[in-house]
């Protein structure tokens, strides 16, 4: 689990760096692909976190000892 999380730590860091560089490129070149990308990320991110949290609740992750 910890090993997986370490890997995910690196993956998410590079994902963020890629997104930062992509924004610079897309705004400078007024690329329409920016619009699709922003739409997808924002559409999915919040609800996905909410669903993931509700799944954790149903699995008893936060159950009081």
């Amino acid at each position: 689990m910890t090993g997986n999380l370490r890997l995910w730590g690196k993956v998410t860091m590079w994902l963020m760096i890629f997104q930062a560089l992509f924004l610079l490129w897309a705004f400078y070149n007024h690329a329409d692909v920016l619009v699709y990308e922003l739409f997808l990320i924002n559409l999915v991110a919040g609800p996905a976190c909410l669903i993931a949290y509700l799944v954790e609740v149903s699995r008893g992750v936060f159950r009081e000892d």
């Binding site: 998410t12 860091m13 930062a20 924004l23 924002n42 991110a45 919040g46 609800p47 976190c49």
Partner: protein
């Protein structure tokens, strides 16, 4: 455009459902939060990745990130992406990947608040300065409350004072009932509302502008500098923006979230994802501001922003977007109230005046202090009626420039000493108002930048003079 005429009963219903939902969370988690201070302030260190992403994003992104960035999009064009949004994310990589995991995994459990961390790095008298500073910076919450009240007043016609009181009272209710449990869980819902509403804005914007190329042509015709990477900003302006981007390092919210994580590795993943999503959310707000500039150049940027939002979104979604703004503000303000009350009760009253105070008494006093802070903040809104930008400039600039060097250097610098931390923090507290209000920022150097420089000189100078060969505690590098 008359925004009130576009506001319908369905929009009202959505906003009211949102408010009711937030209060319900407070009731549900009330009993769990009251079991210990760690449970109340750090949610028993049980936060998982989804909650951490939601609570870190929702707390960090507030009305400035929504309306403020849109205003920057309208007035600065794409340069705000180049000198603020992207540097913000890149400069926070060490915070997410090194400092966060270190705070969670290596710092002892008695470190609960940011003043506790200052005590861990230095000593009790430095903690005292830090605790007072944390409480004074809650003034920024006043500006946020004013901002959301103003929007509700502008859009719905509701009385401005009443709008601020209602938002403040709801936050006080759920935060005092369930502490960080309520803050964290409401933050997830608030985060989902914010990002979903932002995504719903994208397609209508594209339809209105017929593609980014056309939008950029319209803007170029008005002011070509809006499409350059630095706009009309001077090198000092750019430095001040980049310095502001480092604010998360000096934010008590960040350290509270790291402490609440189940593990350092989870905090790292969550903060990287939060920044990934955050810059994508910010980019939508900048784009919306640019559309407002292209189609409503004569309007005040904030009014232009709301005109675009209300024009492109259908009935019901307008209510969701206003709820998203309220969510952005309330999710930040609730954290500020929780931190300020805990610092006041635990770090100042218990640690310095009454060490025998029990944990249950600390929690009870916290629950009492939160509504008092809310009442003070509502009163404090009268100081920020000129807008939120002034509040961020003074309060955010002061907090970041004062805490940044003692906190970050204290974690990393191998020759760190107690005297270095104390004099750097005290020096910054004295220097900022001197430079800003008495000397009036000579040479056009912003007070936050000048304070950073002075704080660094004092810190490293004193540390090297007082260093006796052994560090007070291991640094992150060890």
């Amino acid at each position: 455009m008359d925004l009130k005429s576009l506001w319908t009963s369905l929009d009202w219903a959505i906003v009211l459902i949102y408010f009711a939902g937030m209060i319900l969370v407070g009731f549900i988690f009330q009993r769990r939060a009251g079991s210990s201070l760690s449970s109340f302030f750090l949610a028993a260190r049980k936060f998982t990745i989804p909650i951490l992403i939601g609570t870190a994003a929702a707390s960090w992104y507030e009305s400035w990130t929504v309306v403020g960035l849109a205003e920057c999009g309208a007035t600065m064009g794409i340069s705000v992406i180049f000198i603020y949004v992207v540097p913000t994310a890149l400069l926070r990589i060490p915070l997410a990947n090194i400092i966060g995991p270190y705070i969670r995994d290596k710092v002892p459990d008695w470190v609960v608040t940011m003043p506790d961390l200052i005590e861990y790095l230095y000593d009790k008298k430095t903690k005292l300065i830090g605790a007072v500073l944390v409480i004074t910076t809650i003034l920024y919450a006043s500006a946020l409350l004013f901002a959301v009240g103003e929007v509700l007043h502008l859009i719905t016609g509701m009385n401005l004072f009443l709008a601020m009181v209602i938002c403040g009272a709801i936050v006080a209710l759920y935060t005092s009932m369930a502490g960080l449990w309520a803050v964290g869980i409401t933050d997830i819902f608030q985060f989902a509302i914010m990002t979903f509403a932002a995504s719903m804005l994208v397609w209508p914007l594209v339809a209105k502008t017929q593609g980014l190329a056309h939008l950029f042509d319209l803007i170029r015709a008005q002011d070509p500098t809006l499409l350059t990477t630095t706009g009309t900003s001077t090198p000092w302006d750019i430095l001040a923006w980049v310095a502001a981007a480092a604010a998360l390092y000096a934010s008590p919210q960040s350290y509270q979230r790291f402490g609440a994580a189940r593990s350092g590795a989870e905090a790292r993943v969550a903060y990287n994802m939060m920044m990934f999503i955050g810059i994508s959310f910010s980019a939508i707000m900048v784009l919306t501001g640019m559309v407002a500039r292209a189609y409503y150049p004569a309007l005040k940027p904030s009014l232009g922003f709301w005109s675009v939002v209300f024009e492109v979104l259908p009935m019901g979604m307008r209510g969701a977007f206003v709820a998203a703004l309220a969510a952005a503000v309330m999710s930040t303000v609730d954290t500020d109230f929780l931190i300020a009350s805990t610092v006041l009760v635990k770090d100042l009253y218990k640690d310095f005046l009454k060490p025998t105070l029990s944990e249950q008494s600390v929690i009870r006093a916290n629950r009492l202090a939160i509504p008092i802070f809310v009442a003070l903040m509502v009163f404090g809104t009268q100081f920020f009626q000129e807008g939120i930008g002034k509040a961020w400039y003074y309060v955010g600039g002061f907090e970041t420039s004062a805490f940044m060097i003692p906190l970050v250097a204290g974690l990393f610098y191998k020759r760190s000493t107690i005297q270095g931390g104390f004099w750097a923090l005290l020096g910054a507290v004295a220097f900022y108002p001197l430079w800003e209000f008495i000397l009036k920022s000579p040479g056009g150097i912003p007070a936050n930048v000048a304070t950073w420089i002075v704080s660094a000189v004092v810190y490293f100078g004193v540390c090297n003079i007082t260093y006796k060969g052994t560090a007070a505690r291991p640094s992150v590098a060890d």
